[in-house]
Amino acid sequence: MSSLFDKIGAELRRGLVQIVALSLLRERLYGYQIVKILAASGLETEEGTLYPLLRRLESQGLLLSEWDTHGSRPRKYYELSPEGRAALPKLEEVWRDITGAVGRILESDSPAELAEAEAK
């Protein structure tokens, strides 16, 4: 049963990483920095989840990336693109709507009453 909860938990977290990564990338960060920040915030995320996501967001034009070869090893830094900066507030609004709705559903005693209240 615990593996079932682990799977559901991992799925839920995976869905959150997108908006969290976008929010973090208001600053210029490289992949492993993001992994560490997420872990420190309690949202432990695997590289196999985060790195493909960053590449996808980059190909969608929401992120910009740049290789920095000055340090001991090359690092790929990511940052929000102008399109990403424009999209972030809208995504935050969507996120607030979702959390509000989920919160109402989780806290309601009777789903039927909730539906009636929403209808009014």
Binding site: E11, Y32, E47, P52, R55, W67, R75
Partner: protein
């Protein structure tokens, strides 16, 4: 880090690279990023006092199976979006039924007959059930591949409305439409006035240069039809360039494409699209062999397309199973 540990990391990265697929230059970025992360993690652990050997082992264990990490970089690009699966099956079924009826007609008919632009010649021998089944299988494969190609093309074009889905041409801007119109105009002029000189293959022979025309009897007999289609296509492109994507331009587009399809079917029905008779004489090429070769290529293409689709479907359902609680 010792050479042995570096090799261990490299082996992990190689396995991840294999699972990533795609072209090496596309994988390079991802591998460099993974390598930097591994080295960062190892460095953190060794700075905290861990033995390098153990640190590498722990880091690689924490990252997980390299094949799984590598495969997560595969872009989710199904040939057909899930929403198109049902229309794809429906269109394939419709095309197969029509195709199958023609095949049955050709297998059992005693004499040639015509259905609109389609001319059906009886298949001489053998006219039995096994032959019909073999042909039907080939037909199904071909239809599955051909409809898939059409659907993939349409989904890439990304038109939304039904009318948009039924039109094939890509018209992002006025400049490209004007270029299309110029190109079609050029085809019109060549097909009518320079057909013998330009639609030909020139081969050097001991007696000089031999000209092999390849505008077959199908094209020549249906030139008026082809001209009408080219003219409507030019008008369509110019209308798109001037007025953009409107309802009437989309209707014109649809009519023009249907007319083009009709013209193509007439050309195919009338005779060979490409005249290989002279090529047969000059080069010793057997027209039937070339025809059989082309058919084989089409069936192979259909097989590849169908197999690709099947593998995508299987992989997709496998992935779905993985993420289902």
């Amino acid at each position: 880090m010792t050479e042995g540990l570096e090799q261990k990391v490299q082996r992990w990265l190689d396995e991840a690279a294999t699972a990533m697929g795609g072209r090496p230059e596309g994988r390079r970025d991802a591998l460099l990023e993974l390598e930097a992360t591994i080295l960062d993690r190892v460095e953190e652990r060794t700075s905290a006092g861990q033995v390098p050997d153990e640190a590498v082992k722990d880091v690689l264990d924490a990252l997980g199976d390299p094949a799984e990490v590598g495969s997560s970089f595969l872009p989710p690009a199904p040939l057909l979006p899930p929403a198109q699966a049902r229309p794809y099956l429906l269109h394939t079924a419709m095309m197969f039924v029509a195709h199958f009826l023609v095949t049955v007609g050709a297998t059992v008919a005693e004499h040639p007959f015509s259905l609109g632009p389609i001319h059906i010649e009886p298949i001489a021998n053998p006219r039995n059930v096994i032959d019909l089944l073999v042909r039907a299988t080939g037909t199904l494969l071909f239809d599955a591949g051909a409809v898939l190609c059409a659907h993939v093309l349409l989904s890439r074009i990304g038109r939304l409305s039904l009318l948009r889905r039924m039109t094939l041409a890509v018209r992002p801007d006025a400049r490209r439409c004007t270029m299309n119109a110029c190109f079609l105009g050029l085809v019109l002029v060549v097909a009518n006035f320079f057909r013998d000189n330009l639609l030909a293959l020139y081969l050097p022979t001991p007696d000089g240069v031999t000209q092999i025309p390849f505008a077959g009897p199908g094209i020549i007999a249906n030139l008026p039809l082809l001209n009408i289609w080219l003219a409507t296509a030019i008008v369509r492109e110019l209308m798109y360039a001037q007025r953009g994507e409107r309802r009437f331009t989309l209707v014109l587009d649809l009519v023009s494409n249907l007319f083009g399809l009709f013209a193509l079917l007439r050309i195919v029905a009338t005779g060979r699209l490409v005249d290989l008779t002279l090529a047969q004489e000059v080069l010793g090429v057997n027209a039937d062999t070339v025809s059989a070769l082309l058919n084989t290529v089409f069936v192979l293409l259909a097989l590849v397309a169908s197999a690709t689709l099947a593998s995508r479907v299987v992989r997709r359902s496998w992935r779905l199973k993985l993420v289902r609680p």
